[in-house]
Every structure is written in structure tokens, then in C-alpha cells.
């Protein structure tokens, strides 16, 4: 830093053209996270969730990897035991929210217009329409995108990234930022593995491990409802870790046994 004029010139640079003092020139050195404002709102959202005993999970993935289908299967399996709500993020349409409402739980649709991700302020606005006191488990289905959502904290407690087997097992190597932000990777549509033949789950796991991560990778085949038991088990462990038990059971029905079938 030049002490004569306050310019940002480095020791290796030429100083010939800045020899004159510049008394009206100010340099402010800061170390400030560019997304600090979003992070403050996200922390505020998280406080709302904590105050109401809500576990908030942010679902991220490419478009079409099966986020909504997984939610439908999850709601079918758990809605008798936990009070579930969903915030849906898409550029346009209420389609996903309508699918979730058809499952019998509250769903709010955020249409982002042209924005490629949800941010904390969009979620905060949605929370004003959501009765958090009546929710145990809140899913935030982010805009389908393996890039942008990773950069924006929404206030969630956990990030879950879906990787469908139709996408390629090298996705974690291609999109490291979003997988690094994940607490769980869900390998979706695994019932197609045998048909596709070119997706090797162990290669996907290695690509995740190469990011320095020790996070679980769970297989699901939500459409067939035959392979979400590991996912449900993980969800329940996270709920219990936060003291959200089945004590809030509204009905005496048992979990859908089809969802507890063995993984393919």
C-alpha cells in the first residue's frame, strides 16, 4: 500500500505515474463476505425455524432429478407422523406446489421469474405465509440448478443434493461447489441403474470423497416407492437429533410399509 497517495499500488508495480499526493483520495481495505446480507437474513430464517422446532431441509439438484417425486413419496410415508410443509422454487408455474398439495400437506410456490436460485429473502417472504407453529419438517425445494443454489444460505439446517443416475457419475467432480455444501447426497432413480448400465455408484462416491467429504450417499427410487427406506431413516435420525419425535403423531396409522422395502 502506497503511503504517499494511498493508492493500491503493489511493491512490484511502477510508481512513476502516482508520485503526486492525492489528499482527496481514500482507500478502504475491507474483508467483507459479498453475500453477508443474504447470510444475515438466512440466520434470521434459521432462528424462526429453531424457535418453532422446525427442521428445515434444502433440496438441491439438476432439473428433473426427482426432487418433487422424492417429496411425494416422503410425504406419503411420513405425513401421519410428522407435520410436513414444502416451499417450492421454480422460475414459473405452480405445478410442483400443486403436486405437493395433492399429497395433503401445505405447499407454497415461489416463482422466481428469471432468477436461477432461491435466496434467504425469498424464503423469508414465504415464511410469512407459512404457519411454522404447525410444522415439524419443512422442505425447501430449490430451483433445479447444480450451480447457483449452492452459494445462497436460506437458513436451512441441512442441505441435500440429489444426483439422478441418468445424469452421470462424474457430476460431483464437475460441480464441486454444490456437493461440498451438502450434508447428504441422494442417488435418485436407482431403479434405472440396470437399464442404463453406464452409471457406477462407486465412481460417484469416489468423486464425492475426492472433495474431502465424508457424507452419506443414499439410494432412492421414489417412483416405485420401493427404495426410500435409507432416506426415511436418515430423515428420522435428523428429526430425533433435534428433539422432534413422533410424539406429534396425529393419527395411529403406521408408516407405509411399501416405502420400507429393500433397496434395489
Amino acid at each position: 500500500m502506497c503511503k504517499i497517495c494511498g493508492c493500491a499500488i503493489r511493491p512490484t508495480d511502477s510508481h512513476d505515474n502516482v508520485m503526486q499526493p492525492r489528499p482527496q483520495f481514500t482507500v478502504v481495505d475491507v474483508v467483507h463476505d459479498l453475500l453477508a446480507a443474504n447470510d444475515i437474513t438466512a440466520t434470521h430464517n434459521r432462528q424462526h425455524f429453531d424457535d418453532h422446532g422446525v427442521l428445515a431441509i434444502n433440496l438441491m439438484s439438476s432439473p428433473g432429478s426427482g426432487k418433487t417425486a422424492l417429496l411425494e413419496a416422503t410425504i406419503h410415508a411420513l405425513k401421519s407422523h410428522y407435520r410436513i410443509a414444502v416451499i417450492e422454487g421454480d422460475l414459473q408455474t405452480e405445478n410442483d406446489a400443486e403436486r405437493i398439495r395433492a399429497c395433503g400437506v401445505t405447499a407454497l410456490q415461489i416463482t422466481t421469474g428469471t432468477a436461477c436460485h432461491l435466496d434467504a429473502s425469498l424464503v423469508h417472504q414465504a415464511l410469512h405465509s407459512l404457519p411454522l407453529a404447525e410444522v415439524d419438517l419443512l422442505f425447501i425445494e430449490n430451483v433445479g440448478n447444480l450451480v447457483c443454489p449452492a452459494s445462497f444460505d436460506l437458513g436451512q439446517h441441512l442441505n441435500v443434493t440429489l444426483l439422478s443416475v441418468t445424469e452421470g457419475d462424474d457430476k460431483p467432480a464437475k460441480y464441486p461447489v454444490i456437493f461440498r455444501a451438502s450434508d447428504l447426497v441422494v442417488l435418485s432413480k436407482t431403479d434405472l441403474l440396470a437399464v442404463l448400465g453406464d452409471f457406477e455408484p462407486s465412481r460417484a462416491a469416489s468423486a464425492v470423497r475426492a472433495l474431502g467429504l465424508d457424507i452419506p450417499m443414499i439410494h432412492t427410487a421414489a417412483r416405485r416407492m420401493t427404495c426410500i427406506s435409507d432416506w426415511l431413516e436418515w430423515l428420522e435420525s435428523q428429526l430425533q437429533r433435534r428433539g422432534i419425535g413422533r410424539s406429534r403423531l396425529r393419527k395411529g396409522t403406521s408408516m407405509d410399509q411399501a416405502a420400507l422395502g429393500p433397496c434395489a
Binding site: P23, D29, H32, D33, N38
Partner: protein, 132 residues
Amino acid sequence: MHELSVCQALLTQVAEIAGSRRARVVERITVEVGPLSGTEPTLLLNAFIAMRSGITSTAELRIEHCTVGITCLECGAYSQTQPNRLICAPCGSWRTRVIAGDGLRLLRVEMRTTDSSDAQQSPDPVEKVHYV
């Protein structure tokens, strides 16, 4: 695409800093964009050129690039590596911690202030303000 949002956040922060110093014009802004920040420097620069206005309308955006650096939690070694290869180079362990390359930070704002009296009150025109 989300670089537009990042740029908007950047311009908001710069406007706050410039306003608090009664700056007349912002000349240069320096940011750090790490390879693991999720932000593409070229797109951020394009967004900046499109969105700068008012006090920043002629400002230059300088982007400091940095490499990804990790320390190994097993052997303690420091390695520079690729964003998708966060494995300790010396020992091969995946138990590592990223210590550089994931930052997305405003580092410096250079600006012309309103009048010379401000500068006289502050002999050293360089301020250091460290937030989080």
C-alpha cells in the same frame, strides 16, 4: 447467472462504504473470487459493467484470483490443488480442510472524497475496516 445477485450485493456494500465516507466517485473496487466460491469471475465482471451506476458508474472492478489451498487433517501438510480434487497431495488423505479458494469477498474500495478537509483530518488516507 447468480453473478447478477452477487454483483447487486457488491454494489450495495460499496455504496454503503462510499456513502459513509462522503465519496464523490468510486474509482476502483477489488474483490476476491475463489475457484470454490461458486462465482465465475468473467460473469461477475460482465454483470458489474452492466449494473454499475451513479457513484460507481465509472468504477473499475479488479478481481483477485486465488488458488485452492487445503491443509491435511492427517499429516498437516499444505497443498495447492484443483477445486474437485481436495485430497492431500503428500499423503493422499481425503480428510482435509479448505483454507483458501472458497472466498467471495470485497477487499478494497478506492474513491475520491467530497472535499480536502476530510483528508486533512485523516493524514493516512488508508483505512482498514475488517468485518466478519
